[in-house]
Every structure is written in C-alpha cells, then in structure tokens.
Amino acid sequence: MNALRPPHPRAATLAVWWRNLKVWRRLLGPALAMNFGEPVLYLLGLGYGLGVFIQGMGGMPYLTFLASGIVASSAMTTASFEGMYSVFTRMVPQRTYEAILATPAEVDDIVAGEILWCATKSLVSAAAVLLVAVALGALEPRPGLLAVPAVVLLTGLAFAGPALVISALAPNYDFFNYYMVLVLTPLMILSGVFYPVETLPAAVRALVDFLPLVHAVDLARGLATDQPLDAPLRHVTVLGTYALVGAYLATVLFRRRLIR
C-alpha cells in the first residue's frame, strides 16, 4: 500500500470525535473554567489596563480591538494544545489509538476525528471569548458575530493539522516546547492580535502574511466589528491551505508512526 496516498476517512471518524466529546463532557468543569477564565483575564488585565493609555486602535476602542483578536488566537491555541498534548496522551501513555486500530477504524479515521475534535474545541473556546467580550461590553452583539464561528472553525482546522504533525514526530512532551516557542508564541505576538500588523517592518510583515494567524485575526475582527473585509478570499485560501496540507501531512506521518 502506498504510504503517501491521500487520506480516506470513513464513518469511524465520527466515533473518534464522539469519544473525545464524551471525555470532555466528563471533565467539563475544569475545561470551561479555562475557556472562560483566560479571556476574562486577558480582557480585564490587558484591555482595561492598557486601554487607559491607548485611545483606540485600528479605528476602534482598544478593548474591542483586543477582544476581536483574541477570538482568533484562542482558536489557534486551543486547537494546537489539543493536537499536541491531548493527542500525544492518547497515542502514547493511554494507548487509545492502539485500541482503536484493533477495530475496523484506521489511522485516517483517527487523524480526521482528532482534527475535527481540535476544531470543535476551538469553537467552544472562541464562543467563550465572544460571550465574555459581549458581557464586558468589548463587542456589541451585532449580526456579524454569528459569522465568526465559521472563521474560528476554519482557524481550528488550519492549526489542528500542523499540531498533529508535531505530535506524530514527538518523542516526548518536551518536544512541544519547540513548537510553542518557535511557532505559536511568535505568531501570537506578530499577527495583529495586540496591535495592527501595519506597524511591523515590511520584511516581517511579508513573512507574517504567509502564516495563518494574521488571516484569522483579520477575518474575525472584520466580522465581529462589522467592518468591511479586505481580501476575504485570500484569508480563506491561506487558512484552507494550511488545513488541507496539515491534514495530509498528519495522516501520512501518523501512518508511519502507528503502522510498523
């Protein structure tokens, strides 16, 4: 069998997703505390704290600017953590995948199910951010908000694949530190979550444009604040490309790791 063949997920994908949902529901309390607690801290701490010194940013109050950015970055962080730490836990210490592979389910189903699950968790955490932001008055409850989940879902998919790639390569948990320090943290700082990317040096700006988070931030901010979107098709294309290429590479690498 060709190890590089395209992924072929089947119905068992949903069983994998459903398993994760059931575990998550069981541990709902701590999960939601994290989902709601973090945006509250960010918005209160940074938004109000810095907001005192900053008149406004990108033509809106700083708290609004920040909240609409964090919606996107929380989707990134959530999908990435799930795709690394949780996936690795299921793969190595818990041997969950070994158990699943003894059934008709296959590696492709596991990877597809995990990617869908990562995106689902992104949706939950971004929804929590939106609720907190509306409750704090950072965002107005406009119809545009209803389109934000679609962006968040796409963002979750765009980051899930790459996170699974890292998991498939990881010898242990410490390995994830590289991805955090070299990828996630720089993205968080450089992608227009805390300040507009226009202030970055042109070279950095050009580089950041090839990376997914800035596109997620632009889409989420535009929709959440009812501003006209610039180049929405390009944003969607970049995010979609990361999602597809990531899913493909993750599938190939998981096959290599699990079928020996």
Partner: protein, 304 residues
C-alpha cells in the same frame, strides 16, 4: 477437511537488521485454541500485529478468513477480537462506556449494543461494576473487561496477547474459564503466552517460537512425546557425586542452578536410590510443556 481460518506462509518481518519474524508457516483450523509459546522477544506480538493488518509483512503470505493481509485489514478486523498485551482501556470512561464506545468503532448500532453489553458484562463477571470507573478496577477485572471489549463485535476469531500475564492465580483461572467457554461456543482462539500451564490447559495446538522462527508445532502431548522423556525427577541442591550415578542409571541430565533435572523412561530405580539419601529433596513428575520449552529454547535467561 475444513478450511483453515488463518493461513501463513513464509511470513517475515524485519526491523532494520533484526528478523523479528523470520519466515514462519502455520495454519489454524476453525474452532480450536492455537497457541504461540515463546520467550521474550520471540516475535509473538509481531506475528499478532501482522494478523491484525497493523504491521505490513516484508515477506511471505498471510490470509485470515480467506482474505489477504494487510490489504483486507479492515474487513478482517471487523470479524476479529483483540486482547492486547498491555491494557489500553479508556481510563476516563466507566466499564459500560468502554464497551459502548468500542462498539462505535465497529459501526454497531445502539440497539445491538443495548442488548450485547449487558450480556458481555455478565460474561466477564462485571455486571455489578458496570458504572465503575475503569481506573478503579483490579488488574483481573481490567483484563476481563478487555476480553469483553474484544467480543463486542461477536468475532469468529479472538486474538489474545499474553492474556493472563501479571494476574494472580484466582484472576488467571477466571480468565481461563472464560476462554474455555468461548472455545466451547466455537470461537477460534489465537493466543500467545509464556505460561506453560496456560498453554497446556487451553491450547489444542501450539507452536514453540524463538528468535522469530518456529521450532516445532503440534498438540501439547505430541510436543512432549517428541522432545522429552516421559518422566522427570527434579533434585534440589544435588551433591556433585550424584550426577555421575544418575548418568550411569541412564538419565538425561540437565543442571539448572543448584537443581538437577533427570529425564528418563522409568524412574522407579532412581527414586529408590534417592530415597536412601537422607536430606535430599526431590520431585517426581510426568514431563510437560515446560520441559519441551526449556529443551527447545535453551535455559539461558532472556532479557529483551
């Protein structure tokens, strides 16, 4: 003659330069319990993984239910149950939930699971613990739950990798009783073990495996008859002068640590001689699989 349910020919699997499975042939008739007996690193788990379609062989042919592997892995696994060497139950779920989610991977409908799960819990003597967290179970209960889980798809063939390793005697006997029940129902069992008692008790046919190769195949009785004399006298802390005498008496002698094993066709005269030696501790027993195993695989300690 019924068609074999499993058929392997020149099956091989290498990891780098290591031949984990070095070209083996075996066939399993439906309805029997077939055992792989071998020391650590013999290649038992690797063979089972190939049977599951999860490890592509790099030589030979393998067919289960007439379907070739790994090509038809999905279809084969749909009709197969697996008890892995290390427990991989879902620790976040209850006993009942573990069975339910596993059924989902097979695409089984809720209605089927609703009837099958209580029956399996009964079978595994876990009905009282249906809502217990898996983490709270004893080792024996976990093993029984893993066995129940392997039966969720009502498989024709159940593959068990060291099903009782690490269990205490009571727990082990309970698992054996369940496996005997399964075989009585006509389910084919394929198991690996390094417990002779288990192999002797459960297996209709055995292969003894070491270093990736099959050393011999047969029923437990055939193997014993073929490789060792019918009677054994084990002597503890045997003094050195005894060895010469035993050899003269026509025994085949093996020394393991401070014990002597004398293999013979008739032990009567030997026993009489030993009775006359004050303070000598000895045991007279019929030869068994353990003796075959030690003869075929050697006595040096394995640590892989």
């Amino acid at each position: 003659m019924t068609e074999p349910i499993v058929r392997a020919h020149a099956l091989a699997k290498h990891y780098g330069a290591l031949a984990a499975v070095a070209g083996i042939d075996f066939e399993i008739e439906p309805g029997i319990c077939f055992g792989f007996l071998g020391p650590n690193g013999a290649g038992k788990t690797t063979t089972l993984r190939m049977c599951m379609g999860l490890s592509p062989p790099d030589g030979g042919r393998l067919e289960i239910f007439g379907l070739s592997l790994p090509r038809h892995g999905r279809r084969v696994r749909a009709r197969m149950g697996v008890v892995p060497q290390a427990d991989n139950l879902d620790p976040d779920f209850t006993v009942e939930e573990n069975l339910r989610i596993y059924g989902r991977y097979f695409g089984l409908r809720r209605r089927i699971l609703d009837t099958r799960i209580p029956a399996l819990l009964e079978f595994a003597a876990l009905a009282e613990r249906a809502h217990a967290r898996t983490e709270a179970l004893s080792g024996g209960m976990k093993r029984r739950l893993t066995l129940a889980r392997a039966l969720i798809n009502d498989p024709q063939l159940v593959v068990l990798d060291e099903p009782t390793t690490g269990l205490d005697p009571q727990a082990r006997h309970l698992v054996w009783a369940r496996l005997e029940q399964l075989r009585a129902r006509g389910t084919t069992l394929l198991l690996t073990t390094h417990y002779m008692e288990e192999a002797e008790r459960l297996c209709d046919r055995l292969v003894v495996m070491d270093h990736g190769s099959i050393l011999d195949t047969g029923t437990p009785r055939e193997l014993v008859n073929r490789h060792v004399e019918p009677e054994v006298v084990e002597i503890r802390n045997a003094p050195a002068h005894l060895e010469g005498h035993l050899l003269d008496g026509g025994c085949r002698i093996e020394r393991v640590g401070s014990s002597l094993y004398c293999y013979t066709r008739r032990a009567t005269a030997l026993i009489e001689h030993l009775r006359d030696q004050p303070g000598l501790v000895f045991l007279h027993r019929p030869a068994g699989l353990e003796d075959v195993f030690l003869r075929l695989t050697g006595r040096e300690l394995r640590d892989t």
